[in-house]
Amino acid sequence: MTKTKTSVKASEVDHAALASENRRLKSELTQLKAADQFVREREQVLQIILDSATDVIVTINEQSEIVHANAAAYQTFGYSAAELTGLPLTILMPEIAKERHHADISTFLRTGTQQRSWQGLRFNGLHRDGHEFPIEMSFGAMRRPDGTYRFTGIIRDITKLAEAEEIKRQQLGELAHRQRLLSVGEMASGLAHELNQPLLAICLQADAAAERLQRMLGANSRHTGPGVCETDEAATSKLQTSLSEIANQAERASRVIRSVRSLVRREEVPRARVSLAKIATDVLPICEHCCDQGGSQLVVDVSRSLPDVIAEETLIGQVIANLVQNAVTAMKDIPQSNRRVAISADEIGNNQIQVSVSDAGEGLSAEAIDHLFESFYTTRSDGLGLGLAICRSIIETHGGHIRAENVPDGGAVFSFTLPVSGTV
């Protein structure tokens, strides 16, 4: 209307108004150009993002048809971006995932809300060649001016991540399995020791009693007549049979314990020359996992220049993992920022290498220090009291020693020694 009015009054030739109108139009044009430039640039940025992303980025409509896909789709699913356009997104999913996808979209369209988080959904993707692989997908919804929705999805191939997780899971499973085996072995070993003591006493006492009886009989037969002696002799003989049977049966019981023990425990561990750095590196994922779970920092200082030791490396790794696990548990009541586990190894002379695992917890009681390494001793309500006993038996089998002490500025340190290779 303003423009019409202007033309009607053209005869009046209001130069000033015309000039002002011109300026306004020019400025509007400049703004439009700038806006256009801005949009172009945004589009370019978007395109670069889409082209360079290694994750698959797709846009779909309400029918889940692919409106746009980026180049990474080919790498991940075997379809080019052009091929995918117009195809249903579910072509990239196995049956089980299709249903859930449709349910998610239709629920959203009906209620306008998401029934579950659309971030980091994990399920299997379906490659063009038919193989399934683990993917992680995040979704976003965009409302268009006409009221319909578009959805964008970012899909990541997590095959490698899943493999790494699987390996870690297996390692932890194996660790738990070994732990159980060792627990049974340690229990049998502890029992064997505890039972052999009384069995030895039974054997010796029965033998000594039988011998005393024999001597008494000898004395009697000299002092009394042969008639009395005969009854005595018969009775004594029976008693002696009983006593010798007591000793025999005690011996048998000991053999039973021994055979159970050798069933569950390998007597000889094959040992080889190995560097502590390698042992530490191999067991590191497990230690890291423990520390992650317990919210603790982990510091490892094991030099490659240390001399090799003679050891069965998985068993020594087991000891380290066990000590780290204990260290983490010991710090559960202190502020997370102070939780720190340190693994270190040093040469301590005498052809020994000492490995230490220290924590920043509240330290050990004097009573605990005295009994820590005994079978069935525990300060935890959920503990069997075998972990450290197993550590001790592993280290002693290797010709080393293990001990625990408190650190002056707080926390405890568990150290064990191993002989340097060439000295055993």
Binding site: A192, L199, L200, C203, L204, Q205, S254
Partner: protein
Amino acid sequence: MDNLRIVYIVDDDPAVRQAVSIVARAIGVEVRAFARAEDFLAGYDEATTGCLVLDVRMPETSGIELQRTLNAAGVRIPIIMMSGHADVRMAVEAMSQGAFTFLEKPFRMQELSKTIEKALAKSQAAIESARLRADIRARLDSLTHKEREVLDLILIGQTNREMAQALTLSLRAIEDRRSRVMKRMGMSSVVDLVSAVKSMTTAEDKVAMKPAE
């Protein structure tokens, strides 16, 4: 009490101490039993024939540790190490450190009695030979410088004539000194003299050379 023989027992388990004591008393020896290695060290008499029946596995000081302490102190009492099946490796270590023998638990009275008798015989022989060496040492120390000179030459096998020449003495003087040496050393033949002196010096060398572990 010259024929006193003592069996020392060190085991933390009272039932085992008692049983081993009964067996040892049955063979007519004196028994001293201790629950801890430290108590044994305080109650041990080195000059009397004895042996030690020792448990390899004890809570405070282990049998192996006590053995090391005794080795380091130069105490040579024969040790009968008692070990469970679980401690075979420790038993091997005990043997390599010079234990007399080891018995695997549980063992029988006869086995223990025989082993104790053998260990005591070894101890007695060691004590006798130590006494003998001390005697020879005392006699050697009683020699005058001149007599010692002659003894050294006898030891390297010189004849009287060679000695006379070496020491620029008359044959008569050498014979004289030589008979004084034999008398002081309490020997009737040169062969006995040489073997006695040599056996002692090699034994002393061995002790001197034994590393302090």
